[in-house]
Symmetry: C2
Subunit: 235 residues, 2 copies
């Protein structure tokens, strides 16, 4: 099956969790909006007329299916490409972890957009600073502490045990993103999460991921995405 | 199967989407933390030692399974209790809609907590006011407009067509919650969403839901939940 991924063409954003899964799986896909006329095609898919229009990108076209919501796309891809257990209990558990990562990603976004997604960062710098303090004081330790403990409790290799899942790929992206957006804060925090840092290194060294990261299919981090480097927010 | 639902005992919150599904299905369940010693039992389940500890309530115990994340719990319950299609495509579609509702619920929470969940509302009143303006100017029309259009495109009875799903129950809760938290704003907005208001009425009239809403199992809205009535935020 050759997939069509629909996502904003100039950012990693939420689409990146899907790209990493497709790349690790060696799946064939077209990153539609990065091609000519791709943005128009994406807009057309979002119109509510009939069928199953997504609310927002990313969404994946898989044959006749159109699947929206990042974690839902990974739920679909996971068992098809060996990135999640096939049995229901394991599938639900891995999906649950991914939904917790979705919550974290939203909180990352809120560090620079506490007053909402429709206003510019420049119009909410002071609240962004406050929200970021709270994020690093309380939320990062809670989320990453949870995943660090899980990793240790399950043997230290991958988050659910001895087999890689799409959650491990997403945790790689979380570590990379926090390093990009908050280099000073993250440097100080990394000693709290040696397991996750090791996981990040193992994921980065996997052949398909390594090739992807070195390719122009990997969009660079920038200040339009979820993880943004604003000096004022980095301590 | 008799379920154990674990959620905060004094609020509707995210647990309410699960309660509504269990009630509509006529499923047997214990709302654990509302019983004596229930809070202690819930805390114990959140400890990361082994197995599949949830990150946060709500979570559902179903035999040996422990399932966390609201939308994931509904994914599990949906096909078992006739509240979602059994076939994969329909299941993913309904789940996708529920995940979009989860995003909306988070934005509702952010109206009174734009600087993050660890600070009190009283310490973020001015940013809350700004965030709420943006929520009503831009986000509510986008989310509810999407669901209103979907409902119309699919015949007007239920969000995915002629059969009730857990998404319809959740949309009932969204309308109820917005009416509670923002009575003035919602009153003015309801003319934009006649379909959803009609859906709300049909859900409220279903025998199991009607009995539930009249029982003491339904916790009243209050200012510790997701939907909070703060006069300063209501226009």
């Amino acid at each position: 099956m050759h997939y069509q991924l629909y996502y904003w063409p100039t950012i990693q954003g939420r689409g990146e969790y899907v790209r990493l899964a497709l790349e690790e799986a060696g799946a064939g896909y077209t990153d539609v909006a990065r091609r000519g006329h791709g943005m128009g095609a994406m807009s057309k898919m979002l119109e509510v007329e009939k069928g199953t229009p997504p609310f927002a990108p990313p969404f994946l076209k898989a044959g006749k299916l159109v699947i929206g919501q990042t974690a839902n796309i990974l739920l679909y891809l996971g068992s098809r490409h060996g990135l999640a257990p096939k049995a229901e209990a394991g599938k639900l558990w891995v999906h649950q972890l991914q939904l917790t990562i979705s919550d974290l990603v939203l909180e990352v976004h809120d560090t620079h957009h506490p007053l909402g997604p429709s206003l510019y960062y420049e119009d909410q710098k002071a609240p962004a600073k406050k929200r970021t303090e709270e994020f690093w004081d309380s939320r990062v330790p809670k989320y990453l502490g949870y995943f660090e403990d899980l990793l240790a409790a399950n043997g230290g290799s991958y988050i659910t045990g001895r087999r890689l899942t799409y959650v491990d790929l997403s945790l790689f992206q979380i570590v990379e993103g926090l390093r990009y957006a908050f280099p000073k804060r993250m440097k100080a925090f990394e000693m709290e999460i040696p397991g996750l840092v090791g996981l990040r290194d193992r994921i980065a060294a996997r052949p398909n991921i390594k090739a992807y990261l070195a390719s122009d299919r990997r969009i660079a981090f920038n200040e339009d995405g979820i993880f943004r480097r604003y000096k004022a927010l980095d301590g």
